[in-house]
Amino acid sequence: MKKCKPLSILLVISSLMAGCASSSEMESIDSNPQQTITISGAWALYPMMVRWAEEFHTTYPQVEFDISAGGAGKGMVDALAGAVDIGMVSRKIYQEEIEKGAFWVSVTRDAVFVTVNELNPVLDELRSQGISQETLVGIYITGEITTWGQVVGQLEIQDPVNVYTRSDAAGAPATFAEYLGKNQEDLLGIGVYGDPGVLDAVIKDPLGIGYNNLTYAFDASSGKPVQGAFVVPLDVNANGIMDPEEWFETKGQAVQAVAGGYYPAPPARDLNLVTLGKPTGVVRDFIEWVLTDGQGYVNEVGYIGLSREQLQMELTKIE
């Protein structure tokens, strides 16, 4: 314990100094001595938000955070009901929600990736051909494609496709369904709860297909797809071959494909912070910090940053 003391004093001093340094910009933080920002919503944004809150709290120790995850829909409901200051929403904002007073700022990007088991009978073909939007529609919407042979154009392969989808209403299925031109309730397949649930089902089933967010599809430490799973690249131009710009195998390459716009949006999408009406006071200051200094942590945590122009645009929204 004794050893800790000088260190903690140092921490306090340094954070105080850091607070002083930028006090001119953030007036509303200094005018109120102790404040708490409450946040709830999307799992997709939760790890990033925790990191942002930590960093912001070190700089401005008088601001406390209360963050809970519970899905994009909960974030939206809570924010519109005034139960939290900020809702994390990992899908686009619907017209009905805007009418109810939802104000949003995009802060990072994420993408949904198609995952299959690494023992898939046509893994080599999937690797060299990718999977096209049309094929996915056949699997997930119309249900016309039922065997893996149909997926890769080798009709003699009769292994059935076991389709998994998300049971809970969330950003990932909404975005994936939007890519296929429909809504989440139109997606066929066995409904499994949560992002890790779908991934687990795919890892256990050699004939399974599912979809996952970036942070779940790829292993955080190795950057490869999670053990037992294979992330299928999209055949964007539907020419039946993996073109070099469509191809990716590691998390880094996937991030680049999304950031460079080679991976289509949707299934790539912006992650949003939603407030009831235009944010004011310390909430506004925090969002501004997220769009400026906070962007420095985005790649480190494993998210995809917004382009400089888009960040500028988002900043003007809260001016």
């Binding site: 519970g70 899905g71 994009a72 829909g73 909960k74 939206m76 409901v77 519109l80 619907y94 009905e96 929600e97 109810k100 059935p160 076991n162 998994y164 049971s167 809970d168 209403a169 969330a170 809504n183 309730e185 397949g189 066995i190 409904g191 499994v192 709860y193 649930g197 687990d200 089902a201 256990k204 089933d205 004939l207 399974g208």
Partner: protein, 327 residues
Amino acid sequence: MAQEEFIPQLLNRNKKRNHPFGLTRRVKDVLAGRVMGVLSLFAALLVPLIAVILFTRARPIFSAKPLTELLFSRTWHPISGAFGFYPFIQGTLWVTSISMILAIPPSLLTAIYLSEYATPKVRAYIKPLIDLLAGVPSVVYGVWGMLTVVPFVGKFIAPLLTKTLGFIPLFQTDNPTGFSLLAGGLVLGVMVSPIIIAMSTEVFTAVPQGLREASLALGATRWHTVKHVVARRALPGIIAAVVLGFSRAFGETMAVLMVVGNVPQVPSSIFDPGYPLTALIANNYGEMMSIPMYDSALLCAAFILLMVVLVFNLISRLVLLRLTRSI
């Protein structure tokens, strides 16, 4: 005589001794009674209160759609305004029935063993372990179900039963994944059995020892005694235990939701995926705000769930009443 004199004396003495506090004592007593009465009244009024609130929130959908369509339509497509709860009601009934069929016989046999056959020492070891099962959080059961029950059903039970009993529609399947009504029923069965076991063990133990002795003295075996004396006497209690287990199974959400497959279709086989009412509410609560009428549809689902549980409780009360009268 002596007693009659003694009591006023005692009261007088109390009055004298605690004179300054005598009044507060009585006020305290009255106050405590009132407070506890209000609390009990509040607790008793909670269910009607919840029902009223659910009903008022669900009203838009009741006025927009006829009740028969809500209850018996098979199409669930909120974005195009189709709210048929039939697949969900069916899902709930299937999962609950499967779990009860699986849970009741072994639970009752366990309870009989514990109360009639087991030595006190064995009972002292086994009983707390079973009670422990009741305290496991449902999400833990759900994770366990996903990791073990679902693959077990998909890779073992489904192929086996389809091969041997596939001519019966109930055991046919085109769903090889294991996420199925049977998986939900199995998990639920494990969850409700400690409740049924604990309660029916109590009921069996409460049967007077004299009855058993009379039966045994007539030369009956222990099993005879259980079958003709103990079980008969304990029947109302057993029914109460089963109803309690049933209510628990009916309302369970998280564990079922994680293994049952969540496909809104009317099931025809125990290997089909299903979608219980509870899972519908839990899965979609987050999206209530975005689609018109969705929130009142979900609250309507909650209202239906509450009503079904109430009706079942009522029926079981009536059955119990008749049984206890006839014994």
